[in-house]
C-alpha cells in the first residue's frame, strides 16, 4: 500500500468513524455484554454474579419458556406461509396489465407505512368481539356466534396472523420487482409450446423468482421469530392464558418487567442460535428449489 493509499484509507476510516463508534457502543458492546450477562444472575441494578450455565439450565425447566417457544412456532406456521402466499398472489395480480394498476399498488403498499402501534390500535377495534367491523360483517352474513378474536385463546394467534397480513406491502413490492425480471423470452416460448397460464406460472415464473421467494422466506423466519409489537400492543402481557406470549415478549418481560436480565440475555442468545439454525435449515431444504440465473 502506497503512502497515498494509506492516507486515503485513513481519511475513509475517519469519515466512517462516527458510525463505527456508534456501532461499537450501541451494537457490539451490548451483544458482547449480553453474552456475559447470560452467564450471570443480573438484575440491572446490582453487580452481576457469575452463575455459569444456570440460566440456560433454568430454561429447560421453565414451562412458560416452552409455552412461548410453542406460541412462536404455531404463530409462524400460520403467519409465514399465509404471508408468503398472499403477498405472491397479490403481486401476481398487481403485475397484470389492468386499469389503475399504479393506484392499486399504492393502496396495497400503504398499510406497511402505518406505524406498527397505530396499526395495532386500529386492529384492536376491527377485531373487537362485540363492536368490531369484522364481527359486525360476520353477523350480517348470518354467522350467529363469530369468534371472540382477542379473548378466546384458540383465536388469538390466527387473529395476529391476520393482522400481520395487513403489512405485507413490502413483500409484495419485492415480488413485483422479481416478477418484472422474469425473462419474457421464456414466457413466450412456453406460450408457443402451448403452456397454460398455470403451467407458465408453475414452470417458468416461480422457478425464475425462486431466489426472491427464498429471500422472503428467510426474512419471514427471522422476523417471525422476533414477533413482538402487534401482540404486545394488542394483548399486553401475553393475551388470554398467555396464548400470544411470544418468545420476544417473554424476553422483554424478564428483562424489563421482572428484571431477570441474565435470564433474558440467555434467552436472547438461544433465539439468535435458533434463527441461525433455521436459516441454515431453510437454505439446505431449498437448495434444489432455488434457481439462480448463473446455475
Amino acid at each position: 500500500m502506497t503512502a497515498g493509499e494509506r492516507q486515503k484509507l485513513k481519511a475513509g476510516l475517519s469519515f466512517v468513524s462516527p458510525w463505527l463508534l456508534g456501532f461499537a457502543i450501541f451494537t457490539i458492546y451490548p451483544v458482547v455484554a449480553s453474552l456475559y450477562f447470560s452467564f450471570c444472575d443480573y438484575d440491572v441494578l446490582t453487580k452481576p454474579v457469575w452463575v455459569g450455565t444456570l440460566n440456560y439450565q433454568d430454561m429447560i425447566s421453565d414451562r412458560v419458556f416452552w409455552q412461548s417457544v410453542g406460541n412462536t412456532i404455531v404463530f409462524n406456521l400460520i403467519a409465514l406461509p399465509l404471508g408468503l402466499v398472499s403477498a405472491l398472489a397479490l403481486a401476481l395480480l398487481l403485475n397484470q396489465p389492468i386499469r389503475l394498476r399504479g393506484a392499486f399498488r399504492a393502496i396495497y403498499y400503504l398499510p406497511s407505512l402505518v406505524p406498527a402501534v397505530a396499526g395495532a390500535m386500529v386492529w384492536l377495534w376491527i377485531l373487537n368481539g362485540r363492536l368490531g367491523l369484522l364481527n359486525r360483517a360476520l353477523f350480517a352474513l348470518g354467522v350467529a356466534h363469530p369468534p371472540q378474536w382477542l379473548l378466546d385463546p384458540a383465536w388469538t394467534k390466527p387473529s395476529l396472523a391476520l393482522v400481520s397480513l395487513w403489512g405485507c406491502g413490502n413483500t409484495v413490492v419485492i415480488y413485483l420487482a422479481a416478477l418484472q425480471g422474469v425473462p419474457r423470452s421464456l414466457l413466450e416460448a412456453a406460450m408457443i409450446d402451448g403452456a397454460s397460464a398455470w403451467d407458465r406460472l408453475r414452470h417458468v415464473t416461480l422457478p425464475a423468482i425462486s431466489p426472491v421467494i427464498y429471500f422472503n422466506l428467510l426474512i419471514g423466519i427471522i422476523g417471525g421469530l422476533q414477533v413482538f409489537s402487534s401482540a404486545f400492543v394488542m394483548m399486553g402481557g401475553g393475551g388470554p392464558e398467555r396464548s400470544v406470549l411470544f418468545y420476544a415478549i417473554y424476553i422483554y418481560q424478564n428483562a424489563f418487567e421482572y428484571r431477570h436480565m441474565g435470564y433474558a440475555s440467555a434467552m436472547a442468545w438461544i433465539l439468535c442460535l435458533l434463527i441461525l439454525a433455521l436459516t441454515w435449515l431453510a437454505s439446505r431444504a431449498s437448495r434444489h428449489l432455488v434457481h439462480y440465473q448463473t446455475d
Binding site: 468513524s17 462516527p18 463508534l21 441494578l45 414451562r63 363492536l131 392464558e241
Partner: protein
C-alpha cells in the same frame, strides 16, 4: 485535496457526542438565585398532578433554599429503575407500596431510618397498615402520600329496576351472588319472540341451555379494582409465609378461585366472553359500570372522580365488599395499598429531598393533597374539617375500611409482580373452564416457588452485605 483525517475524526466524534450523548449530563443543581433543585418524578397526571403541583408551589414559596421540580412520568417504576442503574436518578420518586420490597432488595432505594431519627415521624404518626407498607426487612424505604383501599360501588338505579332496595347493598357473599343474578339481564328467544329478563327468572332449562345474550351484569369478579389475585383476601387467604414458602394453594385462595369457577359455570364462558368483549379499561368511558351495564364493582376512592367524569348522572352507593363467612371476624375486609415517595439510591440531594418528603407528612399538607385528589391520608390524626369539607362523599367509608383490623395488603415479597401475573393467568384458565381451581393454583405455586427459590439463593449470597450497607444510613 484530501480531508485531514484527524480533523474528520474529531468532527464525527463531536457530532456523535452532541447528537447521542448530549442529554446525559446534569448541570441543573442550582437555580440562578442559588436554591438547590430537587427533581421529583411522580406517576400522577391530570388533576392528580395538578394537586401535587399546588403542594410543591406552597413548599417552594415557604422557604428559599430548595426548589422542587415535578415531572409527571408514565411507568415511573420501570423508568426509575433504569435511571438509577445509569446513575442519574431523580431526587424523589413517587412509587406504589408494592414496589418497595423489590426495589429495596435490589439496592435502588435509600433507607430513610437515619433521616427519620432526626424527626418525630414514625409508627405513631401513621395508620399502622400504611406504616408497615413503607417498611421491608426492618428498614423504612419511603413515606406515604395518598393511600387507597377498595369497596363495592353499586348502581342504585339498576338496584331499583331489579326490585332491590337501593339503600341495602349485599352484606354477605351469598347475598352478593344472589343480587348479581337478579341484576343480570339476558336476552333470549321465547316462543318465537326476543325477550329481556332477569337471569333469576330463567327456567332451569333455559339456564342449562345457555342460549341467551347477557346485556347487563350484576357483578363480574374479573372486573376487579386492584388485582384479580387479591380476591383471596375476602376468603381469608395467605399468599406467603413471610420467609421461604409460597402459599398460592392456600384454602382461602382455593375458595376464591372456586367462586370464579362458579361464576363461569353459572353464566357460561361464551356468554361472559361476548359480554366483556366491548369492555375497555375499568377507569374509562368503556367501563361497563360507568356505562350503566354492570351493577356492582369493586373499586377504590378514585372511582368517584371517574363517575363524575364519565357518568355524572349516575345514582351510586358504596359499601364494604362482603367477605366469605367467618373472614374478618365481623370487621369489614378490604385490600389497601399506598402511594409512597422514596429517595432513589444515587440521588444527588437526598437531604433536600427528605426535607420535602417530611413537608408532605405535615397534617395540613397531606390533607390538602388528599382532598384535591379526593382521597384520604395515611395519618392517624384527622383534622376536624377534613371529612366535613371533603369532595368525595364516600371518604368516611374508605377511611373506616383502611382502619379496619381486617384490612389486608398484598404479600410483601419482591416478586409480587410475577406472582400476581401467575395468579391472573390461573384466573383466566379457571374463568375459561380450562383448568379447575386446584390444578390452576398448583401451577402458580410451583412456578412462583421455583422463582422465589432463585431469588432467595441470591439473597443468601448478598443479603448480609446488603443489610450492612443499609445500616450505614442510620448515620444520616
Amino acid at each position: 485535496m484530501p480531508f485531514p483525517p484527524l480533523r474528520s475524526f474529531f468532527v464525527g466524534a463531536s457530532l456523535l457526542a452532541i447528537l447521542g450523548l448530549g442529554g446525559c449530563g446534569r448541570s441543573d443543581d442550582l437555580t440562578p438565585d442559588g436554591r438547590v433543585i430537587v427533581h421529583y418524578w411522580e406517576k400522577w397526571s391530570g388533576f392528580e398532578a395538578d394537586a401535587v403541583q399546588a403542594v410543591i408551589d406552597d413548599f417552594n414559596r415557604s422557604q428559599n433554599r430548595i426548589e422542587v421540580r415535578l415531572l409527571s412520568v408514565n411507568e415511573v417504576d420501570t423508568k426509575l429503575l433504569l435511571a438509577t442503574a445509569s446513575g442519574h436518578p431523580p431526587d424523589i420518586a413517587g412509587l406504589w407500596s408494592e414496589n418497595i420490597p423489590d426495589f429495596s432488595e435490589k439496592g435502588a432505594l435509600t433507607p430513610l431510618d437515619g433521616a427519620l431519627q432526626e424527626t418525630r415521624l414514625g409508627e405513631d404518626h401513621y395508620i399502622p397498615l400504611f406504616w408497615n407498607l413503607c417498611r421491608h426487612r426492618g428498614f423504612t424505604w419511603g413515606l406515604p402520600t395518598t393511600p387507597g383501599c377498595v369497596a363495592l360501588f353499586y348502581n342504585k338505579k339498576l338496584f331499583r329496576a331489579a326490585g332491590l332496595d337501593p339503600d341495602r347493598p349485599p352484606k354477605t357473599l351469598e347475598e352478593l351472588d344472589e343480587m348479581a343474578r337478579r341484576l343480570t339481564l339476558v336476552e333470549l328467544v321465547r316462543d318465537g319472540h326476543t325477550v329481556r329478563v332477569s337471569f333469576s327468572d330463567l327456567t332451569p332449562e333455559e339456564r342449562a341451555s345457555r342460549r341467551y345474550n347477557i346485556v347487563q351484569v350484576g357483578h363480574l369478579p374479573q372486573d376487579a379494582g386492584m388485582f384479580v389475585s387479591a380476591w383471596g383476601c375476602w376468603f381469608g387467604a395467605r399468599y406467603f409465609d413471610g420467609d421461604r414458602k409460597i402459599l398460592a394453594e392456600d384454602p382461602g385462595n382455593l375458595a376464591a378461585y372456586r367462586w370464579l369457577h362458579d361464576t363461569a359455570e353459572t353464566y357460561g364462558v361464551e356468554n361472559l366472553r361476548n359480554f366483556v368483549a366491548s369492555f375497555g379499561v375499568a377507569q374509562s368511558a368503556q367501563s361497563p359500570f360507568l356505562g350503566g351495564i354492570e351493577a356492582m364493582v369493586v373499586q377504590g376512592p378514585w372511582m368517584t372522580n371517574f363517575i363524575k367524569q364519565y357518568a355524572p348522572g349516575m345514582e351510586w352507593g358504596v359499601a364494604a365488599c362482603p367477605a366469605a363467612k367467618g373472614v374478618g371476624g365481623g370487621a369489614p375486609v378490604t385490600v389497601a395499598q399506598t402511594d409512597v415517595v422514596v429517595i432513589p439510591k444515587g440521588a444527588r440531594h437526598p437531604r433536600e429531598a427528605f426535607e420535602f418528603i417530611r413537608y408532605l407528612q405535615r397534617q395540613d399538607v397531606a390533607e390538602k393533597l388528599a382532598r384535591a385528589q379526593q382521597k384520604f391520608t395515611a395519618l392517624r390524626e384527622v383534622s376536624p374539617g377534613f371529612l366535613n369539607g371533603h369532595p368525595n362523599p364516600a371518604i368516611r367509608l374508605f377511611l373506616e375500611l383502611a382502619r379496619s383490623p381486617a384490612a389486608r395488603y398484598v404479600p410483601r415479597i419482591s416478586i409480587w409482580h410475577e406472582y400476581d401475573a401467575e395468579m391472573a393467568v390461573a384466573a383466566e384458565k379457571v374463568l375459561n373452564l380450562r383448568l379447575g381451581p386446584a390444578p390452576a393454583l398448583a401451577e402458580v405455586e410451583s412456578r412462583v416457588q421455583w422463582r422465589w427459590d432463585r431469588v432467595m439463593r441470591r439473597w443468601d449470597a448478598v443479603g448480609a452485605e446488603r443489610l450492612a450497607e443499609w445500616r450505614k444510613h442510620d448515620r444520616w
